[in-house]
Every structure is written in C-alpha cells, then in structure tokens.
C-alpha cells in the first residue's frame, strides 16, 4: 500500500506535544519524519514519568505515541559538527518543523532567514506560543495560553473554578494547524518553486478552539457567551445535560413543539405535555428553570440506559455521557480505526494506541512503529541520506556530536 506523503522529508526539531504531534500527522501518512533530539536525554517528553500523578507504567505512551512512525537523530547542536549535520539535512529536506525557543534556534543557526538561504524550497514551520508578531515571548504551555483565550472562565457552573479543556487540548489544535500549514505551503511550492515560513501558534489555534462561543461573543458582544452559565437555567431545556439514577445524559433537541411532545412521550409525561407553562417554544424558554427542575426530578426516577431506550423509540436525539472506559470499548470508535493495536518494542507486546482520525479511502494512514529509541536512526541517516563515512561517524561520536 502506498502512503500519500511518501517522499516528503521532515526535520522535526520539537519537544513535548504541539510540535511532535504536527510531525505525527505527517508521519502517519508516510512522510519521512526525523525527530531531531539532543544527545543528553533527548526530547523532554521522554522524561515523562507520571500523568495525573499516576506512574506511566512500563512504557512511556506520552512520548511513544506522539512520535510514532518517526526516526530519531540524536545530535548535539552546540557543536559545530552537529550543526553541520543539520545544515546538510536541511539541504535535502522539504520541511523544517520546530517548537523550540527562538534563542536556541538562533544559537544553533536554524533561523528561517538562514535556512531559506540553505534551501529556498524549504517549508519552515514554527509552532510558537503567541504568534508571528507582537513580541510576546513569555513561556507558552498549553494551559497558560488557554488561560488567556477566555474559554476556561466560561465553563462550569457559576462560582466554580475555571475549567481546562483537557491535557494537551491546546497543543493538539496547534499541532493540527501546523500540519495543515505545512501541506498548504507544500502545495503552493509546486507552482512557486519556493518554500515559506508558516507559524501555527498556540494562542491563535486555541482562540479558534473557542470559536463555537467566542465567535458569537465577538460578533454580538453578548456577555452570556463569556460567563459561566448554569445548566439549571439553559435557554433551551431540550438541549441540556440531565442526571439520571446512574449516569448523566445529553439531550440535544431543537426547541420545537414536535420535539417537546416526543420528549413528553418518552418520559410518560402526559401532565407535562398538557402544562400551559410549556405549551410553546417561547414559553419553554420563559419557564426554562421550572422545566429543567421538573425534568431533573423525572429523569432521576430511572437509569440512563432505560431512558435512552425510550428516547430511541420516540425518535429523540440523546446520548449517555460516558467515561473513558466506555469509549475504550466503543465499537463505533474501533470500527473507524480511531483505536489501533500495534506492537510496542519497549514491552514486547501489543498495545492499544489512539488511531487515525483522518481517513483516506485509498491511501489510509497507518501506525507502523511506535516512537524510536533515542538516536536509533542516527547512523542510518548519516550514512544513507548524507553520505558520511563510517570513519567520520567514529569521529563525530568521539566529539560527542552524535550519540
């Protein structure tokens, strides 16, 4: 099976998540992605020992999954011979991808201004914190940038602490934008013959992550989009979360009379259906709090599965609000390759990893290997790609320029 991005070489000088995951999208589809790492300890993600205070166990899934399908080159860029290796790689590469700080890029002679001279066809992809302009250069991690987007302070019940969208949620969208930007720049290079600089920032990407509410706020200035809203006062009681005896459910219905009568039927709510307070969409909006309180009480008389069965029978759209254990067993996720089983060298057994969210019918992506060992491909790249001799490699090792 051919992979669509075969033949594209990506130098992936990245750490943690946002940068590496951009490279992962390209690697899943067959690009040759070379994860360039320092000789001492490599990518900082290799050092992850616990997640949420839980030890990662016998394999570091944080690093190994994000860097799957990649090669590892361990090189000391503080040494001239290490920088020479990078220059020669840049000459033969299509993409340079990085999320390391500007001071290091300057020190290592890897600025856009220099690399475009080395290789005018190079697509230079920067994953920054706050964007190309403006000069903000404070540290940028996922959650500290998410803090500025405003999305955290609008989630949850009034008075509750702000809510983070989940570990790596911002890096994930930043990485996706970088992967998209690289493809756009490669596409344009077909006709222009030249590469360019792209900058996918955490801030820009996370503002986009907030778009479902932020766009309405910006356009209409409606403060309700910016503030915590109680579920007990949702404007449309038919589009809301509800507790049952065992679990929560999500009801997603437009506030129409037809949906209202179906909902009443599903909960044996003949008296609700007759209640004049709820007889029209406008009235249901006006009396939303009373209606939600009544639905809360009614739904807590039964279990989620039973109620959803009744919803289905009445043609109503609703879902159980599941947990990660349920997702891990969800046949729908498995049927679409959103989970993949693969061999893990580190523990010599098959493991389950997050799979392939972008499906291509004729040239699907794949998980061919998990993340490489530090420097696993250094010699291969130096000999086969750059034409170094074994003698030179011996010298480089002696200098400590490579691992």
């Amino acid at each position: 099976v051919t992979l669509p991005l075969e033949g594209i070489r990506v130098l992936d000088l990245t750490v943690w998540f946002q940068g590496p995951v951009a490279g992962q999208h390209l690697a899943d589809f067959g690009a040759e992605v070379i994860h360039v790492e320092r000789t001492q300890g490599g990518d900082l993600g290799r050092g992850v020992r616990t997640i949420k205070a839980v030890p990662v166990g016998d394999w570091n899934q944080y690093f190994l999954v994000i860097n799957r399908n990649k090669k590892s080159l361990a090189v000391d860029l503080n040494k001239p011979s290490g920088r020479e290796i990078m220059t020669r790689l840049v000459e033969t590469s299509d993409v340079f991808l990085t999320n390391v700080g500007e001071d290091n890029l300057a020190k290592w002679e890897l600025t856009y201004e220099r690399l475009r001279e080395v290789n005018p066809r190079l697509v230079y992809a920067l994953c920054s914190g706050y964007g190309q302009y403006g000069g903000v250069s404070k540290p940028s991690f996922d959650m500290t940038v998410q803090a500025l987007t405003g999305i955290m302070s609008r989630l949850g019940e009034p008075g509750q602490p702000p809510i983070y969208l989940g570990m790596g949620s911002g890096d994930a969208i930043g990485g996706l934008f970088a992967a998209l930007g690289i493809m756009l720049a490669l596409w344009h290079r077909r006709s222009s013959g030249r590469g360019q600089l792209i900058n996918a920032s955490l801030y820009g990407a996370q503002l986009f992550l907030a778009a479902p509410t932020l766009q309405a706020f910006l356009a209409a200035g409606d403060q309700s989009y910016a503030r915590q809203q109680s579920r007990t006062a949702a404007a449309n009681p038919l589009w809301n979360t509800y507790p049952t005896v065992d679990r929560w459910v999500y009801l997603c219905l437009a506030n129409t009379d037809d949906n209202w009568s179906k909902l009443c039927a599903s909960i044996d709510g003949a008296e609700l259906a007759q209640d004049p307070r709820f007889a029209s969409a406008a009235l249901r909006r006006e009396h939303a709090q009373e209606l939600i309180a009544l639905l809360d009480a009614r739904l807590q008389q039964g279990g989620a599965s039973e109620w959803l069965e009744r919803c289905r029978a009445c043609g109503i759209t609703a879902s159980v609000i599941g947990n990660l254990a349920e997702l891990a067993e969800d046949p729908q996720a498995w049927a679409n390759d959103y989970f993949v089983k693969t061999h893990c060298e580190e523990v010599q057994r098959e493991v389950v990893v997050r799979g392939l969210p972008v499906g291509l019918s004729k040239t699907p992506g794949s998980v061919r290997s998990l993340g490489p060992e530090l420097g696993q491909h250094t010699e291969e790249i130096l000999v086969e790609t750059l034409g170094y001799t074994w003698e030179q490699i011996g010298e480089l090792k002696e200098q400590g320029a490579i691992l």
């Binding site: 949420k52 500290t144 803090a147 996918a200 920032s201 449309n236 969800d330 049927a335």
Partner: protein
C-alpha cells in the same frame, strides 16, 4: 499577493458549522469554494453554533450558487460543476451525491465526508451534533471539580474542522502524484477523541480512577503544573511548571516561600512526599494578593504561569489583533468583531476577500466564469427555475 490554493476548486454542500468551517479554511487560503445552496439545504437547527455569526465565519471567502437539482437542467449544471471541481465536501445535508456517482463522473475528485461518528459502524448515521460526540468521548465527566455536572467544552468540533482541511490537502497531494481521487473521512467523534489525546492515551495504557472521575484541583498530581489557585480578588492563577526543579526558585520567590524549605527542596518532595502540603501552601500564598499583582510578578520573572482571562480580554488584546487572530467585522457603522486567521503564512497569507454570500449570490458568475455558460443560457436556466 498569491494564495496557497488559488488553483483549487471546492464544492461545498455543508450546513453544519464545523464542516463549513473545514471548507472555510481552504477558502481563507485562496481556494475557490462554491457553496451549493440548493432548495433542500437544511441545518441542525437548535445547535448553539447555528447563528448568523457562525455562518459568517465559516462561509466568508466563499461563493454561492443556488441550483435546483431536481430539475433536469439543474442536474446538468451540477454535473458540469462537478466536472470542474477538485474537491467535494459534504456533511450529509443539502444536495446528496454519493462518492460512487461523483467519482464515476470525475475520477480525480477528492470527496470529503464530514460525519458524526465516522463512515463505518452501527452509529454512522447519527446526526452530526458535536454535543453527542463529546458525550461519547469520556472527558465530560472529568473536566469539572468532583460532584459537579459534566462539562461540555465545545471545542471538539474544531479539531474535526481542521482535520477536514488537512485530509483534503493530503488527498490532493496524492492526486497530484497519481491522478487518483478518493474519499476523506473525518468525524466529530474522531475530532473529539483527538482533542482528548493525552487523557485517553494514558487511560488506555495505565487506566485507573483518576481518568474516570474528576480530580479535585486540591489533589493535583503536580502542585506546580496544571493547577489553579484563587487570588485575593476572586480571580485565578494557573501554573504549568512540569519540570519543577527549573521553576521552583522563581515560584518560591514570588509567593514569599523559602526556596530552601526542606519540605519542598526536591521534585520528589514537591510532587510526591509533600504534594498536598505544597498545594495548601500555594493556595494560601496566592490568596494574599490580587490578580494584577500576580500578573506583574509572573512577567517580571518570566515564569510559566498566567492569570485566567475572559472573552473581554481577547476582544481587546493587542496581541490577538496584531496577529489577525481577531479582526474588525468591517461592516459600516458596526463595532462587531470576528475571529480572523489562526495560521500565519509568510508568502500566501490568508485574506478576507468577501463576506459570506447569500444563497445564489454568485450563480451567474460561476456559470459564466467557471463553466463557460453564455448570458442567454443563464437566462434560460433562470426561467426554467433550474438556478436562482
């Protein structure tokens, strides 16, 4: 100024915000994206993203043709459009064309299919509503504090939107090499799952209750990372300092703690032995000063921390303006703003060429310029009710 996708023609038969936004990203970078606004177009009315403001964002820079595909002449126009297209995007609403039909007409076509739960599996036919996908993804119960209702974050669909554009580009790349079109599948479930990557992958590998139930912010795994502390004036400071050895001296300095305090003088003591004590200590320290003070001392020492802001901050943030993440809506006499362009490209910057079109705004233009119809032919089609 050239555009990255100036040679790409996309037909857009979407109605949901996120799928339209996926095609919209292609339009922002210069693709000719033509909405097919047939009489059958429908939206998932009731969704919070079903507002004119969302439509404006997702459909700016696009053209719109209005074609009645139920008439033979209208059908013919649609077929000629497909013959001129590189990409077809559908979310199952509006004009329905399956891949087999379209690829027979145009084998090079990239057919992007935006669905709720993927193209396979028992629930492939469910409506594309982001809340339903988020409910299945497993994060909603663990986002809030213990004892609180599950939380819908709302961002899941945006991963799906970017994936749609990325998948289209990957398929176009393959087509350039082989001449072969194919189907691109993205879904709300796939996008939501990807947004939950780290929690999900950790659960798959190690499991455990901390991934199934909310963890109190006062029981954080690392007191200095991913944590929230209230300020004196009722706001919040968040810290991300995973490598605590590096950040501890600076954090201790701003919070008035002794950096050599024996309770906290190693990563192990901070994150294991005396973890809860450190959380409590930081909680009390941050409560002594207002947010403005913390913002200032964090900046002075260049620490990895910030004050939690709200949408008012974003609307007026010079950094967001300078980078065109937020723009003025540019309607006369209107102070409204809009989200701009999250991705910077030095040679092929995203541009605002036109506002979102009304249905059929560009019918004549597209028929004339893209398909080569004469004015007489266009008039005849109007008269027959095939286009409007």
């Amino acid at each position: 100024m050239t555009a990255a996708l100036q040679d790409v023609v996309v037909l857009d038969a979407t109605a949901t915000f996120w799928a339209s936004m996926g095609a919209g990203l292609l339009a922002d970078f210069g693709a000719t994206v033509i909405r097919i606004d047939g009489p059958a177009a429908d939206s998932n009315a009731g969704s919070p993203t079903d507002t004119p403001h969302h439509f404006e964002l997702a459909n700016r820079n696009k053209l719109s043709v209005s074609i009645d595909g139920t008439t033979p002449q209208g059908r013919d126009v649609l077929e000629r459009l497909i013959g001129a297209a590189d990409v077809f995007v559908t979310d199952g609403s509006g004009e329905s064309f399956d891949y087999a039909t379209l690829s027979a007409m145009r084998p090079t076509l990239v057919y992007a299919r935006a669905s709720a739960f993927g193209a396979e599996g028992p629930d492939r036919g469910l409506p594309p509503i982001d809340e339903l996908a988020a409910a299945r993804t497993g994060l909603m119960p663990i986002l809030p504090q213990p004892g609180q209702p599950p939380v819908y974050g709302g961002g899941g669909q945006m991963y799906s939107a970017v994936m749609l554009a990325f998948g289209v580009m990957t398929a176009l790349w393959h087509r350039e090499a082989t001449g072969e079109g194919q189907v691109v599948d993205v879904s709300l479930l796939g996008g939501n799952m990807y947004g939950a990557s780290l929690d999900l992958q950790a659960f798959l590998a190690i499991g455990g209750e901390r991934f199934l139930h909310p963890v109190s912010r006062l029981d954080a795994g690392n007191p200095m990372s991913g944590t929230l502390y209230p300020t004196q004036d009722g706001r919040w400071v968040t810290l991300t300092m995973p490598d605590t050895d590096r950040w501890w001296p600076g954090l201790a300095a701003i919070t008035g703690l002794d950096p050599t305090d024996e309770r906290f003088d190693s990563h192990e003591k901070r994150c294991e032995t005396n973890r809860l004590e450190l959380i409590d200590t930081l909680e009390r320290a941050f409560a002594t000063r207002p947010a403005a003070h913390w913002r200032s001392v964090i900046a002075e020492r260049n620490l990895s921390a910030d004050v939690i802001e709200d949408y008012d901050y974003v609307a007026d943030d010079p950094q967001a303006r300078r980078n065109r993440f937020v723009l003025d809506a540019q309607r006369p006499g209107d102070s409204a703003k809009t989200l701009g362009f999250p991705l910077y490209m030095s040679e092929t910057a995203a541009r605002l060429r036109n506002a979102a079109p009304f249905a059929g705004q560009h019918t004549a233009q597209v028929l004339r310029e893209l398909l080569g119809y004469s004015e007489d032919e266009i008039a005849a089609l109007h008269e027959a009710g095939a286009v409007s």
